[in-house]
Symmetry: C7
Subunit: 95 residues, 7 copies
Amino acid sequence: MKFRPLHDRVVVRRVESEEKTAGGIIIPDTAKEKPSEGEIVAVGNGVRDDAGNLVALEVKAGDRVLFGKWSGTEVKIDGEDLLIMKESDIMGILG
Amino acid sequence: MKFRPLHDRVVVRRVESEEKTAGGIIIPDTAKEKPSEGEIVAVGNGVRDDAGNLVALEVKAGDRVLFGKWSGTEVKIDGEDLLIMKESDIMGILG
Amino acid sequence: MKFRPLHDRVVVRRVESEEKTAGGIIIPDTAKEKPSEGEIVAVGNGVRDDAGNLVALEVKAGDRVLFGKWSGTEVKIDGEDLLIMKESDIMGILG
Amino acid sequence: MKFRPLHDRVVVRRVESEEKTAGGIIIPDTAKEKPSEGEIVAVGNGVRDDAGNLVALEVKAGDRVLFGKWSGTEVKIDGEDLLIMKESDIMGILG
Amino acid sequence: MKFRPLHDRVVVRRVESEEKTAGGIIIPDTAKEKPSEGEIVAVGNGVRDDAGNLVALEVKAGDRVLFGKWSGTEVKIDGEDLLIMKESDIMGILG
Amino acid sequence: MKFRPLHDRVVVRRVESEEKTAGGIIIPDTAKEKPSEGEIVAVGNGVRDDAGNLVALEVKAGDRVLFGKWSGTEVKIDGEDLLIMKESDIMGILG
Amino acid sequence: MKFRPLHDRVVVRRVESEEKTAGGIIIPDTAKEKPSEGEIVAVGNGVRDDAGNLVALEVKAGDRVLFGKWSGTEVKIDGEDLLIMKESDIMGILG
């Protein structure tokens, strides 16, 4: 992979969640602001706290995550459609 | 349970409160912004203060809580309807 | 009482102030944003300052207080109508 | 006096300023946002700085002050019309 | 002078600047938001920084200053028209 | 090069990305807010953290970056069209 | 020069940039928000960081700078048209 996001940004590959898999996530179709499922592809180095220390992100490459449906900016890297967003757009880690 | 919320987010299972149970909570039907009752299913690791220390959340899994009626994002995890919200949307702990 | 508010929230029981008692509070009927009188029923553990120390609230259960008339969220706990609000909605302590 | 304001709030008794007294304050009638004159009746304990220390207010009971004409919330305490406002609404001390 | 402004407030006596004096300031008449010239009459004690230290103001009584034309609140103290404003409304010191 | 940006600003030379190069970036034409590709030409000295230390920027001259399509201010330096923007407008580093 | 700007303010003399000088800056005429070129005439003492230390400005008198076209307030000092603006309105230093 040839892209390193800055600071608290992450690169996410959107995953189409299967409906009704045992143990899987099913996003209700009728919800107004449904989260999407994705896989973390790359993460930034984190942000500095007030004491000047670099605080690493809580997610790492490979994590399966939920994020707000309209979060992030679409890019195509190595021919693949990906999303760049901030870690604060990530709701949590699956699995 | 297979979902870990990030930072100060929590996962809540909405509970339909029974009307008029002794010692129970009864949400007045006529109030404009009535809080809802729920049970904490999972909590994030907390947020860092200015000194860089991770401060754990005050709620924990199993807590019975009140939260703003329109708080949170609906998800379906393992076939169950749940809510992801921030701890700041939680008003307090019952029991 | 079976409810513990989180952080800087307090639970208040609204008190109908008697008119013209010596030493009592009389809220002028014509004022646009009149404060209400109430009694603190329960308080949260407080909030952390930038150094990470938990700072307790200045009000405590039993305090007679004035608060903004439209402050707080109405709940019914143990069959009693109460208000959940932030300490910053409390203007001061009577008595 | 039976009311203690919280944090950085103060209680003020509005004073009708006499016109043209030597050394007195005369509020121009035509100004759009004229300050009012008053006397501090009670003050809160102050607010904490980032290091967690309680910083006392700069005004004290008895101070004669100018404040924004529309500042504060009207209350009647012990049958007297008073104002509860924040210290930041006080412009300065006379005398 | 009988008025002490609070914190970072200052009292300013507006000065009508003479046109075209050598070394003087001439405010262009056509500018939309022209600064005004004035003299500092009194200053507050300053504000506290995050470490709790009181930081004095940079202007002092007697300073000739430029300030935003619409800055401040008009008061009449000892029969004289003056302005109360914050130090941040002062653009700089002449002379 | 004859321009040094201040603080957290950077100077970027916009690069027209080739379509479909192996390992290259292809910006999808249909996306609403597509990032642009560019090369960092000059960077500021960074900003100070709360402890007063100067924190250098994460990008450096020569870095190939993605940035928001509408970010920055256009200038012509030495006859070349360049962009001045803040590091926070940079999404990440390619390569 | 007889004017000292306060804190993080600077005084700038606008310079009409020549078109097409080798090594010079040419502002494109068609850009919507074109920066202007100017020379720093005077700078404030800087602002204090959270630790209370005075941090000097990065620009100094004599610096040739680019700034946002609509930045600053126009004044006439010693008969000369100048601009008072904040250092944050300065994009960078030429030369």
